[in-house]
Symmetry: C2
Subunit: 451 residues, 2 copies
């Protein structure tokens, strides 16, 4: 990530001079995609049109494939409908569909009408799937051959169609109804002797994913099976498209961002941060803030129940934030580590014994360290050794308690078949706040009465 704004190459000037090479150089120089997008946003309507004239349908299409679909839609929006249709036709269908989905409905309809019928149909088909399904992710740009050809015939046929496919990852073998029979690799095509029938080098039982499956399932298959591309099939076995390995990063990044946002105590934004409106941020955040407020409200009840003790020994109040803070911090560490470990599949329910053993040992050591620190802090403040003892004991007990809650809650949720990722650091902190106060003031009452 660039930490500094680079000196900006005058893209506008290059556009004004209609110099395709200078435009290319200016774009190359914007090393970061975000810089490119920012640059495009500053272009006037006439400059955007000029950009299309200079780069042509294909050049502009390539450029738009690289950037955020919403920004790409903003560029298409100012072009004449026929031109926008031509540019979309040049883009790979999955990217085109993403951009298309960002257009105003009226404009989108006009552009679809202006496109070649075949390309428009392809786009319509992709647009029919929710974006987080395998169907919504796939590109129809795969290549397939009939099992009845021999190698030379197949290579000949492939040469005809290879111009359209972005990259040939695998060559699929399909029957006349497009049903997926198997797969060839380019390696087999290169290294098999001439005349070999395709059926002979067809590897059957191809791993595929249903069009309606979650995109995460497709990503998992691509990773686990170390595939370059995964065919997407309909319920009746027809191949509809492929999802390629480079989609995996994007899918994982998206899902991980959701998990992290949940861990921080929000609902997932489902949108890039800069595109989310303040109103969306409010809605995603207020849900948990209010739940946590209500849950945290009982801290006030706990404290009011111990009003007499606080009246008598007001010094006890001094350590409330520090002690519940310790609990919150320990809880946040444990929850975050465990939820992540469960999220990537490192820890599952069968490991519950090992998790409990490990966290117990760790918590005992941390409890001793923080009890000592608590005693020192209280003694240093000069509140008397009785209160320092209370603070020390409470610090230790709260560490144990927070670690226990934070380790058990995700495991219990998993047991109940709920997503452990809803256990956020703020949720654990809030749970430990109230119970921690009860622990603190009960210990105080007991020890101070006893002394």
């Amino acid at each position: 990530m660039a930490d500094q704004v680079e000196q900006v190459v005058p893209l506008q000037d290059a556009i004004a001079e209609a110099d395709a090479e200078a435009i290319g150089a200016a774009i190359e120089h914007l090393a970061e995609r975000e810089e490119l997008e920012e640059m495009l946003e500053t272009l006037s309507v006439s400059e955007r049109r000029q950009l299309h004239e200079v780069l042509g349908d294909e050049g502009l299409g390539e450029l738009l494939e690289e950037i955020d679909p919403a920004n790409a839609a903003a560029v298409l929006d100012v072009l004449p409908v026929a031109d926008a249709a031509d540019v979309l036709e040049q883009m790979s269908p999955d990217d085109a569909a993403d951009v298309f989905a960002e257009l105003e409905t009226a404009t989108a309809g006009e552009i679809l009408t202006a496109m070649e019928p075949a390309e428009a149909d392809e786009l319509r088909e992709l647009l029919a799937y929710p974006p987080d399904t395998a169907g919504g992710r796939m590109t129809p740009a795969f290549v397939s051959v009939s099992p009845n050809l021999n190698i030379e015939e197949a290579v000949g046929a492939l040469q005809q169609i290879s111009e359209e496919a972005e990259t040939i990852y695998y060559v699929y073998v399909t029957d006349s109804a497009d049903r997926l029979l198997g797969v060839l690799s380019l390696r087999d095509l290169v290294f098999s002797p001439p005349g070999t029938p395709i059926s002979e080098i067809t590897v059957p039982n191809v791993i595929s994913v249903l069009d309606t499956a979650d995109q995460e399932e497709a990503a998992r298959l691509l990773m686990e099976e170390e595939l370059l591309a995964l065919p997407v099939v309909s319920a009746d076995g027809r191949i509809l498209g492929i999802i390629t390995a480079d989609d995996v990063d994007e899918i994982i990044e998206q899902e991980t961002t959701e998990d992290i946002e949940r861990l921080g105590g929000s609902l997932p934004l489902d949108e890039p941060y800069l595109r989310a409106s303040s109103w969306l941020l409010v809605r995603k955040r207020v849900f948990w803030l209010l739940i946590l407020f209500v849950a945290g409200g009982y801290t006030a009840s706990v404290l009011s129940a111990f009003q007499d003790d606080l009246d008598r020994v007001v010094e006890l109040a001094f350590f409330i934030p520090l002690l519940i803070g310790i609990g919150g911090n320990v809880g946040s560490q444990v929850t975050t580590t465990l939820v992540r470990a469960m999220g990537v599949g490192e820890v599952s329910l069968r490991d519950i014994g090992r998790v409990v053993r490990k966290e117990t040992q760790t918590a005992v050591i941390l409890a001793l360290i923080l009890a000592a620190a608590g005693f020192a802090r209280a003694a240093f403040l000069g509140v008397g050794y009785d209160i320092a003892v209370v603070v020390a004991v409470t610090a230790g007990v709260i560490v144990l308690w927070a670690a226990f809650i934070a380790a058990m809650l995700p495991l219990v949720l998993r047991q109940l078949k709920a997503d452990p990722a809803v256990v956020s650091a703020p949720l654990i902190t809030t749970l430990v706040d109230g119970t921690g106060l009860l622990i603190y003031l009960s210990i105080a009452r007991y020890i101070l009465d006893a002394i």
Copy 2:
């Protein structure tokens, strides 16, 4: 992820019967890698040796490539040295190196001596790199041809070596000193007319990465350039190996886990959770716990400075946890979202204005909502309207303050060229705890005096 333990197929029985097919079936049935690893851990020494005898060097090698290197090392450990060497020779060199790194030093030395010299050298070379560098990630199993051949000669040469390479992603073109001149694609090899000189279809200026570069840089290049494989080169331009696209997921997963652990307020574990000892967990957690303890310690000083006010109006103490909790929750939400957005490159320093505007608007609305909630909660507890007003005003101000701190701190760190990922949710919470108390008690003093 499997939520239930599946009925376990008797792998032990299959091993006892020395039935390779039954073993294969038993392994296939263990759908999850973790189940497989757990199963292998339960095998006795003689069962592990039996497994090798039945599967052979290649079969066992394939199995060990799939599982955690530490577990794989435990299997090799019980084999005779010569057998362990044979199995390692069958594995892909990068996987072999990972397993090798987990062996006891003495055993490792013996096995290395027992291996074929060429394979042993390859392994030694890989082991020389730190595991998080491009050199530590690469596999030497790439294929290259001389630019002086024509297509038929190159295909012939490739046929000789293609047995060794795991998968052919790209065919590189190198001179006699192994310097990387360019790349061919299998597609070019298939579709170019016979007799074409290799130099003619060589694409020069291959994107590559230095062996000493961080693995993250390699992952970023693979993703951004949508490559299937990335050549790793020495400082003098010799190709040493390749990093393949399926490594990207692993690299990203590892780096993301580190970021998440930091967000939760720990130092990164740098190890899978279940393999981390309790002692490691303590060391990674205690650092921030003590820093936060010291930072949080001043909450006690703040409260003791306001001792007279608390003595006079003990009800003020009731709302301390609730109010600083609100601040911590808002801070956690903002920090988590922003640190993630900066981590994936969605937000950079140039966006500071947009971030501030967005977060300000959001915080103002949330402040109003939580002020109302605070008033209701205090009034409900029956502490008097003057205190309820104090709680309401404080709730609002703390939301604004927490959002401000949480949004600014990551941006300031980025400005100072520090990693914004060190700003954890617990750090923000602790910072807001002390300052929030100052805000609360100052507002209380002002309003209660005025009334």
